[in-house]
Symmetry: C2
Subunit: 291 residues, 2 copies
Amino acid sequence: MPAGFAKAELIAVLVAVTDNEPRVMTLRGGEALPSGPFESKHRSLQSGLRDWIESQTGHPVGYLEQLYTFADKDRDPDAPADKRRISIGYLGLVREQSAAGAGRPAWHSWYEYFPWEDRRDAYSAEVTTITERLDSWASGDPHYRQRIDFLFGLNGKAWNEDLVLQRYELMYEAGLLDGAELGRPMAGDHRRILATGITRLRAKIKYSPVVFELMPESFTFLQLQRTVEALSGLRLHKPNFRRQIDHQELIEETGEMSSGTSGRPAKLFRYRPAILEAQTLSGTRLPVSRH
Amino acid sequence: MPAGFAKAELIAVLVAVTDNEPRVMTLRGGEALPSGPFESKHRSLQSGLRDWIESQTGHPVGYLEQLYTFADKDRDPDAPADKRRISIGYLGLVREQSAAGAGRPAWHSWYEYFPWEDRRDAYSAEVTTITERLDSWASGDPHYRQRIDFLFGLNGKAWNEDLVLQRYELMYEAGLLDGAELGRPMAGDHRRILATGITRLRAKIKYSPVVFELMPESFTFLQLQRTVEALSGLRLHKPNFRRQIDHQELIEETGEMSSGTSGRPAKLFRYRPAILEAQTLSGTRLPVSRH
DNA sequence: CCTTTTATACTCCTTATGAGTACATTGAAG
DNA sequence: CTTCAATGTACTCATAAGGAGTATAAAAGG
């Protein structure tokens, strides 16, 4: 086979949020991400993947974007060099998990695989284990010390929820992921691909209204907040969250009220995709000169 | 050949800034981006590409990141379906253009290909041509009207320099790119790949210190500003640019002064990569609750 | 000496954001 | 029926960041 030919497949990180847990679609009892060979019948990868996902989950994919193409040699140590496997990863958001599609997919909380990424409540016991083991691995090297502090928010540094992949890679490098003690493993490099997806999504919710792809038609402020909290793994300040959302004019009242919950009923809102154009919220951080 | 095998190649958007112009490395007289077959000898795509670029340009690549994987069917209409070409695109930044490497690469300003993206000074004549032709294409459809206004900053909307790819795709859809009148064409879909690279870089300079990969060892504030202006295609407000930069503590004085220019000599600065950890500047836009 | 060009330091005002307080409604426990 | 827990909603206050413009300093060149 001439150089330049390789086995190509698609692999999907499909996310939904149910019961305030971010869930990812898995196969093989939760140890693999859905993937399949690169089919040639569709015009684009995107449209082909979209069809495939809808047949699997029974739900339309609200949002789909290319994540990353994984092709390093060490992902598949046994494969011959000229048949290196290329996986084109996609991140997809679906509105809710389905009962059962063709492949009977199972949805698992992504914190099963990355328990240390959930900082909504008390840190899990794993966190101290991790930092202790990282400490002994670094054995006083100031360069690694600084990196650990930065990635895990230690010694005065703030925790940054976006650094999912970098934390995973440090732990991998330190040999903490060989056993099954720290989070649930996955086949091959699927857990790294999942980490890539979480990283992308956590970054994205800050400057783009993708969260609404995960919300039902109408929802309360608190439901929206809980969804963002689930994704970011952080607790948010309620009044400030409200202020930020309605300052952006992304949602509007439906006129209905929530019911069935304890506490005072809340107004229901819906997303206003009409405003979608103005979405590129952040816009500029450059000090532009407007004359 | 079984399904799942495809021809894979690497393609690079290599950027340098010289004489206040953002330049991209090209082959074949400026009509193609450098690309090559997927070689299997390196551990990762990244390291293989890095070596290749250094041999081509004679300069080390300061920064290299994966851009996007292009695989749509219509990029190569003549190819049989089962031999679809997959191109893995990378964005690389080099410090200056070299005299001549092995492949005698030529550097062209990226505004040759996208003249409408340069808004540093008076808009080029092309801009009015474009909006007129888009207008007649949209022929009053309010949906397209709104999209044109948003993408090109018309009718009260602000120009957003990040929407390079979206503008290119709208123009493509409207059939404005068939001839050679609007910017210089490139082979195949290379111009779209370049648009993807520019889009990524323009977004990136806002929240990450990648600009410094394009700067010489020491530089003045104005040189830095001119580089950012070249990349973003915008004029910046000088005092505010200064304030923003030194507020971030990314650079420090070398102690030297600039010379040889007209006007008052300026202090020279250097980048402080020591602070690189704290780079993730933007950090949070979520109203986190810190207890 | 005066003009041009670049460098650098401020001021002013508005908006965004972190943090906390106060009060309103509901259902459930006692 | 009262109280409380849980949720919803409206504020205030202080600080930081950002847009816009002004003022002064230091060089080169006529």
